[in-house]
Symmetry: C2
Subunit: 356 residues, 2 copies
C-alpha cells in the first residue's frame, strides 16, 4: 500500500520502511502528549455502556460539550472526529466553496466528493501564510462559503477573525472555521469565534477531542452553529450511531478536567517557545512562527522527502513531508511539538541531518 500523504500513517510507513512501528517517534501527527488521569477507570465504565447502542440523539454527550464551550446543546452536532463533521457539512452547503491554502487536505477531498465547486485561495509565503482578509474581500463574489482553519494547519498561526466574520455576514456568505487546534493557543478566548455563535447564524465552527485531549483513536469531534437550516440539513444526512460508547461516556470526565486543561495550555506556552528558539538555532532551516502544537519548517539545503527518509531510516523519527499541501513545495516539512524529551531528540537529530 502506498503512503497516504497524511500525517498519522505510522503503521503503513513502518511497514514500507521495515521498521517496528513501536520504535517510531511520530512527529507527523499533532497530538498532546499529556495524559488525562484516571482514563483506565473511565474506560471500564465506558465498556459497560458498549453493551447497548449509544443514545442515538447523544443527549448526554451534547450536554457535556455544551457546558464545556458554553453554547446551547441544540447548537452542537457531535461527530466521529472532526472528519465526519467536515463530510456532512460538504453535503449541506451551497455549491461554491472557497478554501484558504495551504491547509488540511480533507476539506477539498470532502468538497469534491460531494460535487462542490472549490475555489482555491492562496496565502502568501512571503507573508508567512498569514490570513489575508483583502484577498478574501477581492474574491467575495466567487464563493458561497469560506473554509478557514484557525490556527491553520500546516503553519500554526492563529488570526483574529472578527472583522472577516462581519465581512462574510454582510455579504450573506457562510464562514466555516476549523478550530481543532484552538485550545493550544495562548489566550484562546480572544481568538475563538465560539462566543459569536448565538449572534451569527452565518458561522459554523468545527472542534475535536482528538488533538488537545490527546485521544485521536477515540474519534470524537463536533460542530457548533446556530444556523437551524444547516443543522437540519446535516441531520438529514447524518448516519445513526457514528460515535462510540467510550467517547460518549468519556465526555462525562474529560471536558470537566480543568487541571488537565490548564496544565496542557501552560505546557504548550513554554514548550513552543523552547522549540522555536531551538529550531531557529539550526542552520539551513527557516522556522515559521506558530501559536499551536506544530511547526512549519522550510529547508534550504535539502528536500523534505530526503530529510524524512534520513530521519526515519537512521533515527526512527517520523516527520511530516509537507510538500503535498497546495501552495507549498518540496522544501517544506511540519513537526509536532511533543514531550520535552522527544523534542530534544528531534532538535539534536535535525542539527546533524541539516549539517550544523
Amino acid at each position: 500500500m502506498k503512503e497516504l500523504g497524511h500525517g498519522a500513517d505510522v503503521n503503513n510507513i513502518a511497514s514500507i520502511y521495515n521498521i517496528d512501528p513501536k520504535n517510531i517517534i511520530d512527529f507527523s501527527s499533532n497530538i498532546n502528549p499529556n495524559v488525562i488521569p484516571n482514563l483506565d477507570k473511565y474506560v471500564i465504565e465506558g465498556l459497560k455502556e458498549c453493551r447497548s447502542y449509544p443514545d442515538i440523539s447523544y443527549m448526554n454527550l451534547r450536554k457535556n460539550i455544551s457546558e464545556y464551550i458554553n453554547v446551547n446543546k441544540d447548537f452542537i452536532i457531535p461527530g466521529n472526529g472532526a472528519t465526519e463533521i467536515i463530510y456532512l457539512l460538504m453535503k449541506s452547503i451551497n455549491k461554491r466553496l472557497a478554501i484558504l491554502n495551504p491547509t488540511f487536505s480533507e476539506y477539498k477531498r470532502a468538497a469534491i466528493l460531494n460535487n462542490l465547486e472549490v475555489i482555491d485561495l492562496q496565502l502568501n509565503k512571503e507573508n508567512n501564510f498569514e490570513v489575508n482578509i483583502e484577498l478574501i474581500k477581492e474574491n467575495i463574489d466567487s464563493f458561497d462559503s469560506l473554509f478557514i482553519c484557525n490556527p491553520n494547519n500546516p503553519n500554526g498561526k492563529v488570526k483574529y477573525l472578527q472583522e472577516l466574520l462581519n465581512v462574510i455576514k454582510q455579504n450573506n456568505k457562510l464562514l466555516i472555521v476549523d478550530e481543532t487546534f484552538m485550545e493550544f493557543v495562548e489566550n484562546e478566548e480572544d481568538y475563538s469565534l465560539i462566543k459569536y455563535i448565538n449572534q451569527y447564524e452565518n458561522l459554523f465552527i468545527i472542534k475535536a477531542v482528538t488533538k488537545f485531549f490527546g485521544l485521536p483513536g477515540l474519534r470524537l469531534g463536533y460542530a457548533v452553529t446556530s444556523n437551524k437550516n444547516l443543522i437540519e440539513k446535516i441531520y438529514n444526512y447524518k448516519e445513526p450511531w457514528t460515535i462510540n460508547s467510550f467517547a460518549d461516556n468519556l465526555s462525562n470526565y474529560i471536558f470537566k478536567d480543568s487541571e488537565y486543561i490548564k496544565t496542557s495550555k501552560n505546557y504548550y506556552v513554554k514548550e513552543r517557545s523552547y522549540m522555536i528558539k531551538a529550531l531557529k538555532g539550526i542552520n539551513n532551516l527557516k522556522v515559521y512562527d506558530t501559536d499551536t502544537n506544530f511547526i512549519l519548517l522550510e529547508l534550504t539545503n535539502k528536500k523534505s522527502k530526503q530529510l524524512k527518509d534520513e530521519l526515519l531510516k537512521d533515527k526512527n523519527i517520523l516527520i511530516r513531508d509537507a510538500s503535498n499541501f497546495i501552495g507549498l513545495d518540496e522544501r517544506f516539512i511540519r513537526v509536532a511539538i511533543k514531550s520535552h524529551e522527544e523534542n530534544e531528540i528531534l532538535i539534536k537529530q535535525m542539527k546533524v541531518a541539516l549539517g550544523d
Copy 2:
C-alpha cells in the same frame, strides 16, 4: 425530541416516558446478552492505542476479520458498524436498487439520501414473509442491485440463497446480503454466502460485531466482496479513521474466542426453542418462526402501540413497535431473545397484557 422509530432508542424513550433508563429491560434491540471474558483487560490495552490515530488502512483489523471468516483481507472493508458500510455502498452502486420488504429501514434511507431509485418488493404475510425467488425473477429487469437481509429483520427467518445468487449473476446484477444476524443461525455455514465470495464478483456481504458479539457501542462492522471495481469506488468515498482504536484492538481477541462463539450459538438454539414455545402458549398472539435472536409477533386483540405503552409504563419493558416497517401494520411487534431470566419476565408480562 420525538421517538426515532428504530429499536435501541432507550434513553430517548425513557425521557419521553419519564422512566430511569437503567430500569428498562430493552427487548427492542437485538443484542447477545452473553459477555466475552476479559474485555476489561483488552479495553485497557485499547486505551493505549487511542493515544495515536488508528491505522488508516486498518491492516491488523482486516487481517483479524480475514482469519475469522476465511476470506482474503483485501476483500474486507471495515466500517463504523454495518451502518457506514450501507451508506458507502449506496454511493457506489448503480441507480436502481430493489429492497425486499419488510426489512431494516436504513437501507432505504441510505439509498434515497444518495439519489438511488428504490424498488420496494413486498414479501407476503400469508407466506410468513419468506424470501420469494419467483417474485425477484419477475422483477429482475427493474433493478441493478438487490438488497436482502438474511436472516431478515424483523421476521428472523434465514433462507438458502444459492439459487438466487446464480439468478442474479446470470442477469448481471449485484446481490447485497446483510448477514448481520447470520452468526445466530444454527448451521450458519449452510446459509452464509461468505464461502462464495471468491467465486462470485456480483456478491456483496455486510457483517458486524454489534449483535452477535454483544458490543453495539463499539461500532464495528465490515463488508466482504471480491468485486474490485466496487471496492475501489467505496474507498474513493470512504472517510478516514472511522473505526476507533478500541474496536481495532479488540479485533485481536473477540474473533478468536471460539469458546464464546460456541457457547453463544448453543445458547440461542436452546433459548429460541424455549421462547417460541412459550410465546405460542399466549392467547391473541401470532408467533412467526425465527432462526435468529429476535421474534416477530402479531397481536390479534390489541394494537402494537398500546401494548408497547402498557409494558413500558407498568413493567419497564421496552418492545419494538414494528408497525413502521414497510408492509407491516399496527398489529406487529418485535422482541429480542435476551437472557433466560429476562425472557421469562417478558413472557409473564405479555401473558398478563394480552389477557390470558
